[in-house]
């Protein structure tokens, strides 16, 4: 098992036909024309049958058809709202520190029962780089990178400053991701 150096075959000898451009044009056009006709037929067929799976083309008709993002996908970071309706976040500030873009700012407070919670939790969506370091830093699994990537676009930058209410999502909606990070990222057998 080893790496070997190997000369590339650059001495592409052009036959007379190839030198005359004509064959090249024909060959190039054949390849593209094959794609063209194949896609034409398949698109037409899917148009008639109404079955998008029959389309030979690669295009996803995005706003109508949604692509399936892989489990690992890091979309918009969201806060987890526990089943009892309270934030899971304990305002420890690890995500604030861990964020390389410094887009999170938290003001913590104390509940009457002595547990800590974030009084305000602001995440600047215009600055966030979706790196997932906050998720990794969070000891409570309170901030997770959801699979959600829609609805991030705004006409005004100030609207992208998400507050706590905009970020909180019930836990059961984030089951998949929470499961993923426990299984694939922080599992004991990975260490």
């Amino acid at each position: 098992m080893a790496a070997n150096y190997k000369k590339v075959n650059r001495g592409v000898k052009l036959t007379l036909w190839e030198r005359l451009y004509v064959m090249e044009v024909v060959r190039g056009v054949t390849i593209t024309a094959r794609h063209f006709f194949r896609n034409w037929v398949s698109t037409f067929r899917s148009y008639v049958s109404g079955n998008p799976a029959e389309r030979g083309i690669m295009t996803i008709y995005y706003p109508e058809e949604k692509p399936v993002v892989p489990e690992a996908y890091r979309g918009r970071p969201m806060l987890v709202r526990a089943m009892d309706g309270k934030e899971k976040c304990v305002a420890c500030g690890l995500c604030e520190v861990a964020c390389p873009a410094k887009c999170i700012s938290i003001v913590g407070a104390m509940r009457p029962d002595g547990t800590r919670y974030p009084e305000t939790y602001t995440l600047d969506g215009a600055v966030c780089i979706f790196c997932g370091l906050c998720e990794e830093a969070c000891p409570e699994e309170a901030i997770v990178m959801t699979h959600n990537y829609e609805g991030l676009v705004e006409y005004d930058r100030r609207l992208m400053l998400y507050d706590k209410e905009a970020l909180l999502v019930p836990e059961d909606k984030l089951k998949g991701r929470l499961d993923y990070i426990r299984r694939r990222m922080y599992n004991k057998c990975n260490y």
Binding site: Y5, A72, F130, L133, N187, N190, Y191
Partner: protein, 399 residues
């Protein structure tokens, strides 16, 4: 004779400013050209339009926080930058040998997938700017499929942020080998289509052959590395010269050219795509099971299970996140084979959680430097294939 005619006609040189928002310069380079008709008499390159303070940021963040910044160096092959940086930090920590085998293999796989994606991007941009729009789209399609694999592992299409000091961010997803296999089957079909569309095409050949050539000696003195150096006939590949990761274990060919012109660079890249697929397939067959992270809480954050169970682990978690990994005083340089050439990280630690100095050796910085040398005396149109084939990546060149 020619000079005399020019004197008679009282010609003057045309001064042209190409870029940085010129379609061929990728938005990050400016060429000052002096043209005699269509011939380039003098060429000066100005870079720095994408300087965004990579080193300063790394010095101001923890060792872990540098990963997102390394992603955005050579953004076409982010995992490679992650790996190179992680290797350099691990060398400083002295834990290079303790990285689990599975992590090493997965890193190798990611590096090679990134190399494929980068070459696809580069060739796509090259063909686009030579006017072959359909070939461009096919390259992007192939890259899209490769990115699907990368995304399923890392969670992001481009800026992967996947490698960590002492391991990986997450394990491979289920069904990874099958996914890779199906994608590679499609990629091989695409590969043969590119080959038919371009390699024997006389128009393409005429544009690429004997343009932007650089001799072996010049290439060495300009510190060329990677495909551009190998195209000039120099047998140097970090993967062979000083093997890292799992490259000792796998079998692959390193394509080498002869004349150092654009066509050789193109051929070397095309062949490297093939070889990368080979390496990935071998790595997948050799992939051991087991842990993916080093079991050392002072290097890699402990698992969440531990964190919830043991107080000590939780303390390490907090300390690693807030103060950063404690790296002993010292310095290290790790060369790796990036897609464009030798990608080395030179790290200086003065102890503590932040890098004192985090220098990346940008391969295309050296390549771009030679643009003037390679293009003077050729035609204006030759800038385009030459510039494409040196594969300037703004993030890496200007940092």
């Amino acid at each position: 004779m020619e000079d005399k005619n020019q004197l008679d006609l009282n010609t003057e040189l045309m001064v042209l400013n190409m870029g940085p928002s010129h379609p061929a310069t990728h938005g990050t380079v400016r060429f000052f050209l002096k043209l005699d008709g269509e011939k380039i008499v003098h060429m000066e390159t100005e870079i720095g339009y994408l300087h965004r303070g990579f080193e300063k940021h790394c010095e101001n963040g923890t060792w872990t926080q540098a990963f997102p910044y390394t992603d955005r160096l050579n953004y076409c092959s982010a995992p490679q930058n992650n790996v190179a940086y992680a290797l350099a930090v691990e060398k400083l920590l002295g834990v290079t040998d303790k990285i689990p085998a599975r992590a090493v293999y997965i890193r190798t796989i990611m590096c090679e997938l990134a190399r494929m994606a980068d070459h696809y991007t580069n060739l796509a941009a090259g063909t686009l700017e030579l006017g072959a729009l359909t070939a461009f789209i096919y390259f992007v399609e192939a890259r899209e499929l490769t990115w699907d694999i990368i995304e399923s592992v890392c969670g992001a299409r481009l800026t992967s942020n996947y490698i960590r000091v002492g391991g990986l961010a997450s394990d491979l997803p289920e069904g990874f080998a099958g996914h890779v296999k199906s994608v590679f089957a499609k990629n091989r079909v695409f590969w043969s289509e590119f080959d038919k569309l371009l390699t024997h095409n006389r128009i393409f050949l005429d544009r690429m052959r004997d343009t932007g050539a650089i001799s072996r000696e010049d290439a060495i003195s300009f510190a060329f590395t990677g495909p551009c150096l190998r195209a000039a006939g120099v047998e140097y590949d970090v993967r062979k010269a000083s093997p890292y990761l799992a490259y000792r274990e796998v079998d692959f060919d390193i394509p080498v050219g002869t004349t150092g012109d654009n066509f050789d660079r193109y051929l070397v890249r095309m062949e490297e795509i093939n070889q990368s697929m080979r390496i990935v397939e071998q790595c997948l067959s050799l992939l051991p099971s087991g842990p993916i992270n080093i079991n050392d809480a002072s290097v890699r954050n402990p698992s969440k299970e531990d964190g919830h169970t043991y107080m000590e682990s939780m303390i390490f978690h907090f300390k690693n996140t807030i103060e950063g990994i404690q790296v002993p005083k010292g310095e290290s340089y790790v060369p790796t084979e990036g897609t464009n050439g030798e990608l080395g990280f030179y790290l200086v630690s003065q102890g503590g959680g932040k890098p004192w100095k985090c220098r990346v050796r940008p391969p295309c910085f050296a390549l771009t430097q030679a643009m003037g040398h390679m293009c003077t005396g050729s035609y204006l149109a030759d800038i385009i294939p030459t510039f494409d084939m040196i594969n300037l990546i703004g993030g890496e060149c200007d940092r």
